[in-house]
Symmetry: C2
Subunit: 287 residues, 2 copies
């Protein structure tokens, strides 16, 4: 049976739609019945083209979300912990470093892929909590909801990129499953208790991320990791020139992490001053 | 004490930042110390101007997120429930209607404001769950994460608009608090169990929303509710002409609800066909 129940009318058409279930698993475009649903609800994803006229092939992001990474960002900035809360944040991150190093050793491609599944959680949790708070309190957000969701989306794009280079094995998938369950809830709770601590911790996580991407680059330079061509999704997302390589991708990803570091340390600083994030306009589109 | 701990250096500057806590509660712009933090982390919200050259004053949304609502959308479309799950979704919504009507009666401004705090929840919950799923499964989203988050943001902008027209009383705030707690968790669970049911229910909620905004418009036409000038945030968000009124705002909000109705019924239809949302490209920027 079809769902196209047009208020009881058009029984004939409905019969024609029978047995479409489960068809067209790949991509979903070009399927006849799906097109009919689209035209019934009038919900159509607008077709867009690339600058060179070819069709834009990513549904997960659109051309206007692509950007050129700012590679000039200072990679060395560090927030020296002063308060107990800062020190605890740094200590938490540093202590997570050991098992991670041990597990991945020099498999940086795999490491990047796995860690991005974790990195995309804090922005989503923070954005969601601020969204709910804004609704509950009838307050403006200052743009922070969007800024944090943008960060989450950016991290997810890192994952989509590294997926093309390293394929996850079944036990890695299982690990991600478990880690997400724990980390999501821990961060959720942590953000409720102290957004100051939560943002500081993410700031330090990003500092570590910059460090591991620097190591990744060294391995690429040494030739220990093959400098394969950049995946198509990466060249479109970061507007990379043709013939870009994995190294170029790691460079822009590292720049992204440096931006996340700044945003999160900044957010923590705002809380440190006893203020709310919404009182300081958020850095929307800060890449 | 300040958070500007520049790796132990610049102690002098740090001392100057003492005692800024809690200052500059309104808007947060123009504060001296805040500017210093901004320049340390380099995180600055870009200044933008309106078309007429005046400064853009909203931090919660930027000019490129403003749009002109498509008022030509069919307000009468209805998904006739066929399956048991559809009927249950419709029944749930209809049974929520009675207490709501009883509580608000003809206070449509207040009703709109209160209901928008609820309406902004499903998009956020759905977007978050799809985001986590995409990470866990190393899968593309088909744009649905963003489409649902866009919906949540759009609903939150409805709230920000109606807040300007009707101010919430303390017991209304308390009610919103309680309702959000229950609804967020119920929808979260519902979406985990059956996204098909969850999206269908939102589809029906939006049908009801269209109905109550139509009633709102009738009261405005009759003069029972004063047709005040449109709030500034509304004219900027929907790019309304100058001298627009509350009636124009209700018209564009109602059009938004009709779009949400279509998106959610469509999403439910995709699940009904035994497919995943990501297999059908999401209607990004569908207003
Ligand atoms: Fe990342
Ligand atoms: Fe990051
Ligand atoms: Fe709404
Ligand atoms: Fe809606």
């Amino acid at each position: 049976r079809s769902t196209l129940a047009l208020g009881g009318e058009k029984e004939q058409q409905r019969e024609e739609n029978v047995q479409t279930t489960g068809a067209a698993a790949a991509g979903g475009s070009g399927n006849k019945d799906e097109k009919r649903i689209v035209s019934y609800w009038g919900v159509e994803a607008p077709k867009v083209n690339k600058d060179d006229g070819s069709e834009w092939k990513w549904n997960c992001f659109r051309p206007w979300e692509a950007y050129e990474a700012d590679l000039s960002i200072d990679l060395k900035k560090h927030h020296a912990p002063t308060t107990f809360s800062d020190k605890m944040a740094l200590w938490t991150v540093k202590s997570l470093r050991w098992p991670t190093d041990l597990f991945f050793q020099r498999r940086y491609g795999c490491r990047a892929m796995m860690l991005e599944t974790v990195a995309a959680v804090p922005g989503m949790v923070g954005g969601m909590l601020l969204h709910c708070k804004s609704l509950r309190r009838f307050e403006h957000s200052g743009g922070w909801i969007k800024a944090l969701l943008e960060e989450a989306e950016n991290e997810r794009m890192h994952l989509m990129t590294f997926m093309e280079v390293a394929k996850p094995k079944w036990y890695e998938r299982a690990l991600v499953f478990a880690v997400q369950g724990v980390f999501f809830n821990a961060y959720f709770l942590g953000y409720l208790i102290s957004p100051k601590f939560a943002h500081r911790m993410v700031g330090y996580l990003e500092e570590e991320a910059i460090h591991s991407y620097t190591e990744f680059l060294k391995e690429l330079d040494k030739g220990n990791i093959e400098n394969v061509p950049a995946p198509a999704i990466a060249t479109d997302y970061w507007r990379l020139p043709p013939n870009s390589t994995l190294k170029d991708v790691v460079l822009v990803v590292r720049a992204d992490e440096a931006h996340h570091r700044d945003v999160n340390h900044f957010a923590s600083d705002i809380h440190y001053q006893g203020r709310q994030l919404r009182e300081s306009p958020a850095p929307l589109g800060y890449h």
